[in-house]
Subunit: 360 residues, 2 copies
């Protein structure tokens, strides 16, 4: 128990959720469901049930330090690891591993994004515990594979093999987001699972993997081996982190290592990566409209819409609108077809070109 | 010139323009085009060019007295005639006529709504002058008939006869809003003109008409003959106005009188009664979208929309939306098909039932 650690990755920008998610206030800090807790806070709350609070870390960009402190006052200064630059997940995972090893060389670590929704918490906690126990005994890099409920094209997939240790199946391949045809094949095969991006490993196992598959990164961090968990850590990270390769943990290690195992799970997981995924999960009215944030809403001859106004005291009246996103936050109102939400990134870019950062 | 008076009717609620137009702040007080002047102010500015400012009156509901003073500081207290109750246009016209006769028994009066748009001001002023001259010489009730530019079903029509005095044609009939088929026939006939609701008459001519066609109303006002334009007027009106018949000047007098004449005009008139009429008039982008209020807007694959956000500093991004009204004001956001805007009145009523007056 005392050897169990958690690393929450909270440095993303989440521009696909604009205008709600802003570069200055990304989605993990938002309370999408009007529940009173942000995605980050819900993630913390979950892990705090099985991991000692003092063993929970958040890795984020320096820009979000104050937001983290504000939303998670439970965390001490030293539990917030600040990245001086955006370098994707591999350097983030390495930084956390080096720091945690300096605190506890026997640490078992669960690494999780901060913007996921988990509906069946009990199952989730059981599976995470199980994985933490597994990596204590086995030099395995564990990923949680979600049993697919639909041929989703928005997720990466993991293919399991027949080699199974306890309930952990050796992973055959990681695949990028498939097209719909392939996604259907994946689903029917029964061999493919959604890549949750939730990983579990012993600190020594992951650091060995880094020196083997991402030596550029590990050698860079090795320069400051003795500085981690000391007053010198910040200065060392500030100076060296920016030199790290910009690469994901999936691509840099999980797809290459031969000791990757997957635990098949089914705890009502969703990556809140898009309005569409949010819509899938949100409670809906009789006409399949999802009104978030407890907004007062009156809908007529409308269906399939997802509606979110940052001001819950505002009334929204919608008539004759179908399958749209109606999102209003701060100084921006967005109305967009759900099926075209991939273009939101472009809208943000266009707005930046036209207006500077006023609306970003 | 000194005998020419103007009465601006400014007591309407304009609920079809909700959420912009609120019962507490109706459309005539709004600056729809971001021009810096409200519809009421634009109406006043127009008449002030040909009518002495001290001869311009506004008749409105007591509830709007302070709004009028705020928007038209040029008016003295006694130029604002306050209705203690909503009684349609006939009692409003009678009240103004009784008051003005007490000021000037030779007054010639132009009566106009406060929520109209007039694009060709020079022509408008020429025609009003012409009508004022005509009613000085003739005991005629004059209405301005607009040469129709399309088979509009939202307006009432006036049928002219062949009896013409100067350029003023004796009116044969007034008709209610026709259906599209009939409206087409009207337009092709060349005999039918839009009823602008702008009337011109000598004060004695209209008061004779009242005693002849609406004796209930005139006898009620006759009770206070000597009180008009005296300190006793307010108390008299407060006590007696509510007893007046609730009836329009068109139905109560114009459709019945046999001395009604029409001047055919074509000064780019529009009754800003609906979002649709506003859309018709507003400048549009290449895809036929009308963005009012100088809002910052980015539209993609969208056409035929009318967009109005009360906060001009707000950015609106719209994609894949066609022929809709997107209107946001105060605590309400409305998205509605243009063709279904007639239902806005229902939305307002529903909101009142559901939330009380919070959003009205």
């Amino acid at each position: 128990m005392k050897d169990n650690y958690c690393v929450i990755m909270g440095g993303g920008i989440g521009s696909r959720f604009w205008p709600f998610s802003r570069e200055s206030y990304p989605k993990q800090f938002l309370d999408f469901f009007g529940s009173g807790r942000s995605l980050l806070q819900m993630t913390f709350d979950r892990f705090a049930k099985i991991i000692p609070t003092e063993n929970i870390y958040v890795v984020t960009n320096e820009a979000y330090a104050s937001l983290i402190k504000e939303q998670l006052p439970e965390l001490s200064e030293k539990q917030i690891l600040l990245e001086p630059a955006r370098r994707n997940t591999a350097p983030c995972v390495a930084y956390a591993a080096y720091h945690i090893r300096a605190c506890n060389p026997d640490a078992n670590i669960v690494v999780a994004p901060s913007d996921h929704l988990i509906l069946k918490e009990e199952l989730f906690l059981r599976d995470v515990r199980k994985a933490l126990d597994f990596v204590r005994e086995n030099r395995a890099l564990v990923t949680l594979g979600i049993t697919p409920s639909r041929p989703e094209t928005g997720y990466g997939y993991i293919q399991s093999s027949d080699t199974v240790v306890d309930d952990f199946a050796k992973v055959k391949t990681f695949t990028e987001k498939p097209d719909l045809e392939l996604a259907k094949v994946f689903m029917e095969s029964g061999e493919f699972f959604w890549n949750s991006g939730i990983f579990v490993w012993n600190v020594n196992t992951i650091l060995e993997a880094f020196s083997k598959y991402l030596p550029d990164i590990s050698s860079r961090f090795d320069l400051g081996k003795d500085k981690f968990n000391t007053p010198e850590e910040r200065a060392f990270i500030r100076e060296n982190f920016p030199y790290c390769l910009n690469i994901s943990i999936d691509y840099g290690i999980m797809e290459k290592a031969n000791n990757v195992y997957m635990l098949c799970v089914d705890f009502g997981w969703a990556d809140l990566g898009t309005w569409g995924s949010l819509f899938e999960l949100a409670p809906k009215d009789a006409n399949d409209n999802a009104v978030l944030k407890n907004n007062e809403a009156m809908l007529y001859e409308s269906s399939g819409n997802v509606v979110a106004l940052s001001d819950p005291k505002r009334l929204v009246v919608i008539q004759g609108l179908n399958d749209c996103i109606v999102a209003e936050a701060g100084n921006v109102l967005l109305i967009c077809k759900k099926e075209d939400e991939a273009r939101i990134k472009q809208f943000v870019a266009d707005a930046r070109i036209k207006y500077g950062n006023e609306f970003n």
